[in-house]
């Protein structure tokens, strides 16, 4: 079997898990073996109906009250134990924060290699993988010499596709033996915060600023435009490192990855760090003085010149158009 870890909230798997299942199913088919899933935590027993369409024949539900709340080390140990008991041909997980973490714990316990962020996997001795590097700016071809090979699939690199024929997703209860000290890392509390306005991650329009904005104060004109469009403001790493914007507003490899209808990038040259964060934007309008900058070259549209004149002019036109 090919075993896939499902990252879910109360029995609803996230999109990245369905994408991981899609890659795992392709591998299982090549190997002529079954696709199994493992689900842990609150609501995990109800996951079958949402993953059956992806060709899952068996869902291993980890039944242990101590593991209802997230506990990465113990969750990883459950996967390691299930793998030891069943000898899967491969263990796959989504490249979400939890997916990477839990699979790494399982790999550490089994003392097996793990290849993170794989977009292709070809069976063989050894297994051949293609995986993201530099936040998907480059690809690495690599040999993965694991028994079983363990790998994660980066979110939103591959589409989730249902199988031609759904699987039975038959529920099998698995009771791991969890040592007390494996529970030393677990969520002890959740603090809720109040957020105002549209979040960067979900905004339909994002107005981003970089070095060209020049100061904290310079972002005011970007905020005005974003306000008129019901969008959110973000910044490059230059903007957050200079303290012009809080880090939460950073668009980039080490910040937020955005996916708006339109990204208006003002005074941003387009370093790799930033381009990885705005790759999900459907359309890009660049405002820049340099027509050879990466941001302008990769944009759909560009206006050349000083953003301090252009951005307020756009805001004015939008106000006029709204009447």
């Amino acid at each position: 079997m090919v075993l896939t870890f499902i990252d879910h909230v109360d029995g609803t798997p996230n999109e990245a898990s369905l994408q991981a299942l899609t890659l795992a199913r392709g591998l299982a088919r090549q190997l002529g073996t079954e696709l199994h899933a493992i689900a842990i935590g609150s609501g995990a027993d109800a996951i079958g109906s949402s993953i059956a369409p992806y060709g899952v024949s068996t869902v291993h539900h980890v039944a242990d009250e101590q593991l209802e709340a997230y506990a990465p080390e113990a969750w990883g140990s459950s996967i390691a134990q299930l793998a030891s008991a069943n000898g899967p041909e491969a263990v796959i997980g989504p490249g979400t924060e939890r997916g990477q973490e839990v699979l790494a714990h399982a790999a550490a316990e089994l003392d097996q290699p793990m290849a993170a962020n794989c977009v292709e996997v070809t069976p063989g001795e050894p297994v051949h993988v293609v995986r993201h590097q530099w936040g998907s700016s480059l690809l690495e071809e690599a040999r993965l010499k694991g028994d079983p090979p363990m790998l994660t699939v980066p979110p939103h690199a591959l589409g989730a596709q249902a199988a031609d024929a759904p699987g039975d997703a038959q529920l099998a209860t698995f009771e791991p033996a969890i040592e007390e000290r494996r529970l030393r890392v677990r969520v002890s509390d959740v603090e809720t915060t109040q957020t105002e306005g549209v979040s960067l991650k979900e905004a339909e329009v994002v107005v981003g600023g970089g070095r060209g904005v020049g100061s904290e104060d310079g972002f005011r004109i970007l905020e005005e435009l974003a306000n008129e469009l019901g969008g959110a403001v973000g910044g490059s790493r230059v903007a957050t490192n200079n303290g012009w914007r809080p880090h939460d507003d950073q668009i980039g490899l080490t910040g937020t990855k955005i996916a708006p209808q339109l990204y208006i990038a003002a005074g941003i040259s387009g370093a790799v760090q930033h381009m990885v964060g705005c790759k999900g934007a459907k359309h890009v309008l660049a405002i820049n003085t340099d027509d050879e900058s990466t941001m302008v070259q990769k944009a759909d549209w560009a206006i050349l010149g000083d953003l301090h004149e252009i951005v307020p002019a756009i805001t004015e036109e939008v106000r006029k158009a709204k009447g």
Partner: protein
């Protein structure tokens, strides 16, 4: 508080990445080197924690001989000592974790244990997401990852991780291992005096035994080019009316 912070030397890539002829790496002829943004925050956190609670901080890297440049940058920001595990090629995550674990055991045998071992959540280049967890496992210490806030006190560390708009809270007994993310703090720039002092601080160079890689690079390649031609709407503020047409076309206005 004794803190170890682990970093990795990577090219400071800028906008374009050109591969070497053998496709084993990025052509760095015109590039400088740096550490990942997550690691810069790990270094800053180590320095701030020692400033607040006393103790000492150590920075460690596994990499080429030239990686002492990155160690000295950390020393210039206030880290007290440095360890360089010299290698002549890239090591896979398992071998890296093993060498770091052995170095930690050796350092601790010579002195105080590290209350905290800090890593960046993932390296900028390979993003393996596993070295901190493997080191924690080998040392039998608790480990939390994707951490963006840390409070230390009473033999415990309270570490927070973003979960949508909320925060997950972990309370770990020290000694502990944390993998941190940018946003944890705002890293300082080294002072001139710090840079001068860093030149005189010793770097403990060691040569760990290499291991057979189990995740072995064959080659790097560029992903297929996306996108087409940019349409220049115009120069300066006069082009603004065209943006309204685009906004209407995309139905965001």
């Amino acid at each position: 508080m004794n803190i170890l912070v682990c970093v990795k030397r990577v090219p400071d890539t800028g906008a374009k990445m050109v591969l070497t002829d053998d496709e084993q790496g990025i052509n760095t002829r015109n590039l400088g080197f740096t550490i990942s943004p997550h690691e810069e925050c790990a270094v800053e956190e180590a320095v701030q924690t020692v400033e607040a609670h006393g103790g000492a901080s150590t920075v460690l890297t596994l990499g080429p001989s030239d990686a002492d440049e990155q160690l000295r940058e950390s020393l210039a920001k206030g880290v007290d000592s440095a360890v360089l595990l010299e290698t002549d090629r890239e090591w896979d995550p398992q071998a890296t974790a093993r060498a770091i674990t052995e170095a930690v055991q050796q350092q601790e045998a010579n002195g105080e244990p590290f209350d905290l071992i800090l890593f960046g959540n993932e390296a900028s280049d390979t993003a393996d997401y596993q070295v901190p967890i493997r080191v924690a496992k080998a040392l039998d210490r608790p480990c939390a990852t994707s951490i963006k806030a840390i409070e230390v006190g009473d033999g415990k560390v309270r570490a927070k991780r973003e979960l949508g708009a909320d925060w997950e809270v972990y309370e770990l007994e020290m000694p502990a291992v944390l993998a941190v993310m940018e946003g944890l703090n705002l890293p300082r720039h080294p002072s001139l005096r710090g840079t001068m002092t860093a030149k005189k601080k010793p770097v403990d160079r060691q040569q760990p035994e290499p291991a057979e890689p189990k995740l072995e690079k064959i080659r790097l390649k560029h992903p297929p080019e996306e996108g087409g031609q940019v349409e220049i709407l115009g120069q300066g503020a006069d082009a603004a009316p065209k943006v309204v047409q685009i906004l209407r076309g995309l139905e965001v206005l």
